[in-house]
Symmetry: C2
Subunit: 328 residues, 2 copies
C-alpha cells in the first residue's frame, strides 16, 4: 500500500523569537506544501528519498538502529536535517500504531525551501506522521498529529522547538500559540507575499543570540515583552480584518526583531523592496539571520519589486492555507 | 571689526526621538564645524551669505522687520531654514548685548551638510550667537550660549527642539541631555564614522510620526522607554570606555528606531555597509527618514564600505570634538 499526506508551510504574521519566552505568536499556514509518501516495507528498515528540498535530492537507506546512519555523498548536516525529522516522525507513527518494528519507504516532495524559515521541517514532520500512521491503519486526531510533530521538532532541535510551527502546519489557517496553549483564529483572506534570499540559517544559534542579549540587558527582555504586546494588538486587527493596521504592526515587529539582532542585510533589503513595491507592511519571518520575509500586498507590486532585488532568490504570492494536514 | 566663531556638529550615540519624551540621550560633538563670521554694520540691516551648505551657496540681504523677507532665486524652504537660524541667533545676540538695533554682515561656512541630522542648524545658531555677541563686545558664558541657541531652535522649529543639539555643539565632547538637565560626560576617544545619503528631511514630520505611533499603541510608548533604558546602559559603557558594548547598543538602538518608523532604505543600507566593513556598531543619527548614519570603527574599513555603497553620498571619519564653540 502507499499513503500520501501533505501539510502546509507557514509564515509568522507576528511573534517569532518572543514565543520562546511565553509571549503569544501568530503563525499563518501558506499554500505551499510538503508531501510525504509512505509505503510499508516487509522489513524494519527505512528508505528515505527527498526531492526538491534545498539540496538537489538524495536517497539514503539505513536500518532502525540509531548507530546505523546513512552513508551518502551529500553534505551531512543537510541529510541529517532532512532525515532527522523523517526518523522521528516515523518513530512517532510506530509509537502511535503500536508497531515498533514497522519499516517504510518514504518519499518527500516539498514546495517549501528547507531552512528558509517557512516551516518546511514542521510540514515534513506533520505530513510524515499523518501518512505513516494512516499507512499502518491508524487515523489520528489532527491535534494529536500536531502534538506528536512538536515532539519530533523538540527531539531534533535539542529542546528548542515551539509548538507554533507544527500546530500551524497541522491545523492550517491563522493560529495563536502561547506556551503550550494553541488555538485557531478567524482570519480574513490575507494577501501574503514571500521573498526568500536562498540561504538557510541555524535556528538554534539565533535563538541563543536572543537569549544572551535578554540575559545581559533588561531592556532586551523588555523588548521581547513588547513583541508580545504588539501580538495582542495584532490579534485585534486580525479579528477586525484590518489589513492596513496588520501591515503597520508587521513593520514595527520587524524593527523589534532587528533590535534583537536577528535581521540581516538581505532581509532588510527585501523588506524595503516589498514596502517600496506597495506592500502595506513587511517583516522577516522565522528565525532570521537570512532566509525569508513576508509582506501583505493586494496588488502584487511587491512581487515585482522583490524579483528585481538582487538579494531575493525567489518571490511569490502565497494565499493563507485554510486547510492543514490532509491525505492526498 | 570682524569676529568668527565656530561650533561643531554632532551625532547621536544614543537616544534621539526618545529624548522628546523625557528620556536621556547622549549626543557627541564631531570635528566638523560651522563657522560664522560677523561684522557689525552702520545700519540695522542683516546681510547673510552662506557657503558650502547643502545648496550651492546664496546671499540675501533684508531688513530687521519680520515682513521684509529675503528675495532670492533659490528654493524658499532652504533659505528659510538657513536664514531662520541666523535671524534668531542675531536676535539673541541683540538681546544679550542690549543692542536691539545692531545690524550685521553674516557669513556662514559649514563643513556640516544642512538637514543631514548632523546638527548643522544648532552649530550655526551656537556659533552665530557667540560671534555676534563678541562682535558687540559681550562675552557670554558657554552655557548661556547653549541656552540662547536652544531658544533659537525652539523658535525656528515651532517648539519641537530639544536642548541636546545646541548644548552638545556649545560644550563639545559627549553630553547627556534629559529634559532640561544637561551635563557633560567623560568619554574615550570614539572612532566615529559617518555616512550621509545626500538627502534632508523634515524633523517635525518625523517627530510627529513617532508621537502618533506612541499615542495609538501602548507598546510603542514602551519602546520609547526602552530606548531610555538602553541609553542608561550606554552611559555605563561610555564611562568604562567599552567601545564593543557601545557598538552593540548602537545596533539595538537602530532596531528600536526602525520599529518607531524613522529609518529608511538608504539608512539601513548604510548601516549594513558599515557593519560589513568592520564597524562594531552602526545606527541612524538624528531624526531619520534619510540623512546620516554613525558607526564606530577603529580601522576605517567601514568608510571604504560606505564609499562603495550607492546610497551613500559622503562617508568620513569624524573624531570626537572635545572643544565646543570657540572664537577663531
Amino acid at each position: 500500500m502507499t499513503t500520501t499526506s501533505s501539510a502546509p508551510g507557514k509564515v509568522y504574521l507576528f511573534g517569532e523569537h518572543a514565543v520562546v519566552y511565553g509571549e503569544p505568536a501568530v503563525p499563518c499556514a501558506i499554500e505551499r506544501r510538503a508531501r510525504v509518501t509512505v509505503s510499508e516495507r516487509d522489513d524494519d528498515r527505512l528508505r528515505v528519498s527527498a526531492d526538491a528540498l534545498s539540496i538537489d535530492g538524495f536517497t539514503v537507506e539505513y536500518g532502525n538502529a540509531s548507530d546505523d546512519g546513512p552513508d551518502v555523498d551529500v553534505p551531512t548536516p543537510l541529510v541529517e536535517a532532512a532525515t532527522g525529522y523523517v526518523d522521528e516522525a516515523v518513530a512517532q507513527a510506530r509509537d502511535a500504531a503500536g508497531r515498533p518494528d514497522a519499516g517504510f519507504d518514504v518519499e518527500i516532495e516539498s514546495e517549501i525551501p528547507l531552512g528558509a524559515g517557512l516551516g518546511s521541517s514542521a510540514a515534513v514532520a506533520v505530513a510524515g506522521i499523518d501518512a505513516a500512521t494512516r499507512e499502518l491503519g491508524v487515523k489520528l486526531d489532527t491535534r494529536e498529529v500536531a502534538d506528536r510533530a512538536y515532539r519530533v521538532e523538540h527531539e531534533v532541535q535539542d529542546g528548542q522547538a515551539s509548538r507554533a510551527d507544527t500546530f500551524c502546519s497541522a491545523m492550517g489557517g491563522a493560529v495563536r500559540v502561547e506556551g503550550d496553549d494553541c488555538t485557531t483564529l478567524e482570519a480574513p483572506d490575507l494577501p501574503f507575499v514571500v521573498g526568500y534570499d536562498g540561504t538557510s540559517h541555524d535556528t538554534g544559534e539565533l535563538v541563543s543570540g536572543v537569549r544572551a542579549l535578554r540575559d545581559e540587558f533588561e531592556f532586551a527582555a523588555d523588548t521581547v515583552e513588547t513583541v508580545g504586546d504588539l501580538v495582542r494588538e495584532g490579534e485585534r486587527a486580525l479579528a477586525d480584518g484590518d489589513v492596513e493596521t496588520l501591515g503597520r504592526l508587521m513593520n514595527f515587529n520587524h524593527g523589534l526583531l532587528s533590535a534583537l539582532g536577528v535581521s540581516a542585510r538581505t532581509l532588510d533589503n527585501m523588506v524595503w523592496a516589498a514596502r517600496d513595491g506597495g506592500a502595506v507592511g513587511a517583516k522577516l519571518t522565522g528565525a532570521g539571520g537570512g532566509g525569508s520575509i513576508v509582506a501583505l500586498d493586494d496588488d502584487g507590486g511587491s512581487v515585482t519589486a522583490l524579483s528585481l532585488t538582487p538579494d531575493c532568490e525567489e518571490a511569490f504570492r502565497a494565499e493563507l492555507a485554510t486547510e492543514g494536514v490532509r491525505v492526498e
